[in-house]
């Protein structure tokens, strides 16, 4: 027990570079598995949470641009969505990494983006923005006509009508699908250290450490189920948080109103 507390002290924050420098090499204990993989989850949560929050803002802007009647707005939005939804995230990571490497030659500013914490975050942010924009666009299109007409009847128009009626309703409609998008964004964060971005000083995410253990012990039956456990826990937390927001979004509706089944989730 005490031994395990030492291990947690040594490796609990290993993924961000605090604690013991060398990873365990032989005689792996179950406690080391749990601690290191858990410390790697810091990166998964970091990437997922930040990309989700900024991505939400951009996604709304792109969804609006796509729904716009001006082609100079809707055409770039369509291309953006096609580019990020139509290609594997994996390839996007590769491509972004090499792109940043080349840009670094001419602009030293980009040297930040060749490390995972910033570069991969940019890719994930744009990627989730594209997926969410498609969801939000679909929701915008399915706002009931009656609600818009009611807003007209109240004398609302333009921005006021959008911010008070159309946007809140579209969020309500989009929320179940957006919950799925959030879950799969967190799953997608495991790809970061598997593509172009190198794990500097062996500071990796949960999958990086799980893979490390599996490579060393040649026994996949311990590290991967632990990783799976962590991710199922994370998924449950996301579902819980999004459920609370959903309750708040729909607080004025009769509670018996059946919540729409989430549509088929998208994975990358």
């Amino acid at each position: 027990m005490n031994e395990c507390l030492t291990t947690i002290g040594d490796y609990g924050l290993r993924a961000v570079g605090i604690g013991e420098r060398l990873l365990p090499k032989t005689d792996f204990t179950l406690c080391q598995h749990f601690t290191l993989i858990g410390s790697g989850m810091i990166w998964n949560i970091y990437f997922g949470a930040i990309a989700l929050v900024i991505g939400f803002v951009l996604a709304n802007a792109i969804a609006l641009a796509k729904a716009s009647r001006y082609p100079f707005l809707s055409i770039p939005a369509n291309w953006f969505i096609l580019l990020f939804r139509g290609s594997p995230l994996f390839i996007q990571f590769f491509l972004a990494y090499f792109l940043f490497l080349n840009l670094k030659q001419s602009f030293p500013l980009f040297s930040w983006f060749t490390s995972a914490w910033a570069g991969a975050l940019v890719v994930l942010f744009l990627n989730t923005a594209a997926y969410s924009a498609e969801i939000f666009y679909g929701a915008l299109q399915s706002v009931p006509r009656g609600e818009v007409e009611a807003a007209d009847a109240y004398g609302m128009s333009g921005w006021k009508r959008f911010i008070r009626v159309i946007w809140p309703t579209s969020m309500r409609l989009a929320w179940p699908a957006y919950t799925n998008e959030a879950i799969f964004l967190f799953h997608a964060t495991t790809l970061v250290f598997f593509s172009g971005f190198p794990a500097w000083q062996q500071r990796g995410d949960a999958l990086y450490y799980a893979n490390y253990f599996a490579d060393k012990t040649f026994n996949p039956f311990i590290p991967y189920p632990i990783l799976a456990g962590y991710f199922i826990l994370l998924t449950l937390i996301i579902v819980g948080i999004f459920g609370l927001i959903n309750r708040r979004l729909n607080r004025h509706l009769p509670q018996s109103a059946r919540i729409k089944r989430p549509r088929m989730p998208l994975i990358r």
Binding site: G86, N102, H187, P198, F231, I232
Partner: protein
Amino acid sequence: MGFYLSFGTVLLLLAITAPTALAFGFGGAAAARSNFLPLRWFGKTYIAVVRGVPDIAFFLFFVIALDQGFEYVRHQIYCPDWDQPIRQGSDFVVCKAAKLPLSSAPQWVHEVYGFFTAVLTFAIVFGAFAANVLYGAMRAVPHGQVETAQAYGMTNRQTFWRITVPQMWVYALPGLSNLWMVLIKATPLLFLLGVEDIVYWARELGGSKTPRYTAYPHGDWRLWYFLGLLVFYLAFTKVSEFFLGKLMKRLTHGQATLGGTS
């Protein structure tokens, strides 16, 4: 030559995996709505666990787990009087006759075996997603249809095979076509399973292991290679979208769903 073949590998994998995953999905969905409780638990757990965990973790897990599983079973059959433990420290030791593929086997057997594990892994992972879609589709079949079948005296089994299954496909198609898009985009992960796919070549031809610390005197050509891959996948997605749209139109023609009228 291997480089061009790798594109064929990707297409072949898609062609084999899609029906296999559909079969897995059908099994999973049928299990999840079975009347037999343990089977229902099994089906629901299968769907929930695979959906709750990143797919890349499954790819990494199954490539070793399946291999060791097969070798363990063969070990039990071929070498019953082996007395040493199978796991010795960090080694997985089975007798020579149980090795898969046999060390004396020609190269193509190794490649086919690698491809086979890849297909099985993809089928298990995407089978769970397909199971989720089909499970929803089975429940979307109008209840009146099932009640009518029961009124005609059909057993549960007959109702399932004669009423539910033929009618569920229209409801399943949007989810399944989405899944097809996802499957296309998952193929670059093949290289994780040791199959020489297009990304494998991208990395192989790239050469240096830690490009972060390498200063290229000129533009890195890999950038163009990956751009090519990006265009390949974008085009593939676009073409699939076109044909799936046509299929949907044909299937919903005359159906009493929203798609049939609009």
